[in-house]
Amino acid sequence: MLALDVVLSRGPFTLSAKAAIGPGVTGICGPSGAGKSTLLSLIAGLLKPQRGSLHFGNDCLVDVDRGRFVPPWQRHFGLVFQDGQLFPHLSVRDNLLYGWKQLAPDARRFTLDQVAALLEIDGLLARRPLQLSGGERQRVALGRALLYSPRLLLLDEPLSSLDERLKQQILPFLKRIKTETGVPMIYVSHSRAEVDYLADRVLTVDAGRLSE
């Protein structure tokens, strides 16, 4: 599904990753500073590698030798950040629909009602992000990425800003997304327990190297 073979250097840090990632949920584990978030940014298109290539199915997203780079807004991957990154000037409803509105109507796989019910955020739609608790915020961020009907959902430590009790409340929602939507996911976390709970396979990043 996703084939990557990339090298990215930023100052003294070098990330080199070569892997073929299949459908289902792929967990990526590793200590902080190992390059996990950098790897996700590369896949999302927020960073350009210096060397290598990235393919999604038959779709070539990056090929440095051929000068090809597909920008993030054309990749159709969803990315959920650590702290949600909800738009503070928009209501929860408008946050949820932000990516959905960019899609052609026949490309929309889910409706607002479906996603709001799945993540139990139906009651929050009129609120502003600052009126949400941390757990609510992350569920809205998940919903926003999901409503964009991504071909691949990238999750960058989506639970790390939450306490243990909240994590236990959100993990089942992630499992639900996996079983009920079938959207392939790459789940990055430094917590092996979270990854084991969700993932079908686990890769490890350590000191900028990705391995199985």
């Binding site: 054309q74 503070p88 000037h89 932000y98 926003r144 800003s161």
Partner: protein
């Protein structure tokens, strides 16, 4: 307090000139502030200094330079007149330009600060949700910078209302054409029995500037509250 027709004329002209100057500075200021915050380009430092220059120069200097450049005998002014029939020197349009040049730094600074405060990751989030860079700018960057943009526009407007030196040097002091409030006050102080009129217009100027500053403060405050920038971040209670 009643105003004479001449005083009304000065007041309305001031309002017209300041509004037009603000409308010119607004898009230009937003574009330049964005470039200065988000892009690296050769000569950036020079552009930055050049924009700030009118703030630290005696206002008569930029005014005189405008006259040299854009006067009907000047290289640009002569061309404008020959090609398009546009005359700026000694017209109200020239007064707009003089005000705009002088007020521009006051527009750029708050907008620039506002752009700098925006979390880039919000823009990244928008781009991973399928938004093109232009759409990201319109739907995320610009609304989040709105308090700074409003503050800049208000400062720009107030500064334009008070413009004196550059206007005087570039477009002179022509009643009904370029005699704005400050110039009218100046003229009245030179008339034997102009003191009452000068005082009326002085009080009016103070009231206008005061109102603009208060309005700017209120609107900025309101917008910030709407954007949630005044409340503490990271409230993590319950799911």
């Amino acid at each position: 307090m009643t105003l004479t027709p001449d005083e009304w004329q000065a007041l309305l002209l001031s309002a017209k000139v300041a509004s037009c100057a603000t409308l010119i500075c607004l898009p230009a200021g937003i574009a330049l502030a964005w470039l200065l915050v988000r892009r690296e380009f050769p000569g950036k430092l020079l552009v930055d200094a050049l924009v700030q220059l009118p703030m630290v120069l005696p206002p008569v200097v930029p005014g005189y330079l405008l006259l040299l450049l854009l006067g009907t005998q000047g290289p640009v002014g002569g061309w404008l007149q020959a090609q398009f029939g546009i005359v700026l020197a000694f017209t109200w349009k020239g007064a707009v330009l003089a005000s705009a040049v002088m007020a521009f730094p006051l527009m750029v600074q708050p907008v620039r600060l506002a752009f700098r405060m925006i979390d880039r990751r919000l823009e990244h989030a928008a781009s991973t949700l399928g938004a093109t860079p232009w759409r990201v700018f319109l739907s995320v960057t610009l609304p989040l910078a709105l308090p700074g943009i409003i503050a800049g526009a208000m400062l720009c407007f107030s500064r334009s209302l008070g413009e004196f030196g550059a206007t005087m040097a570039f477009v002179g002091n022509i009643p009904g054409e370029t005699r704005t409030l400050p110039l009218a006050i100046y003229s009245y102080t030179h008339l034997p029995d102009g003191e009452a009129a000068a005082l009326r217009l002085t009080l009016l100027s103070i009231a206008l500037a005061f109102a603009a500053l208060i309005a700017s403060h209120l609107i900025t405050h309101r917008t910030e509250r709407l954007l949630g920038q005044l409340e503490p971040r990271g409230r993590d209670a319950g799911a």
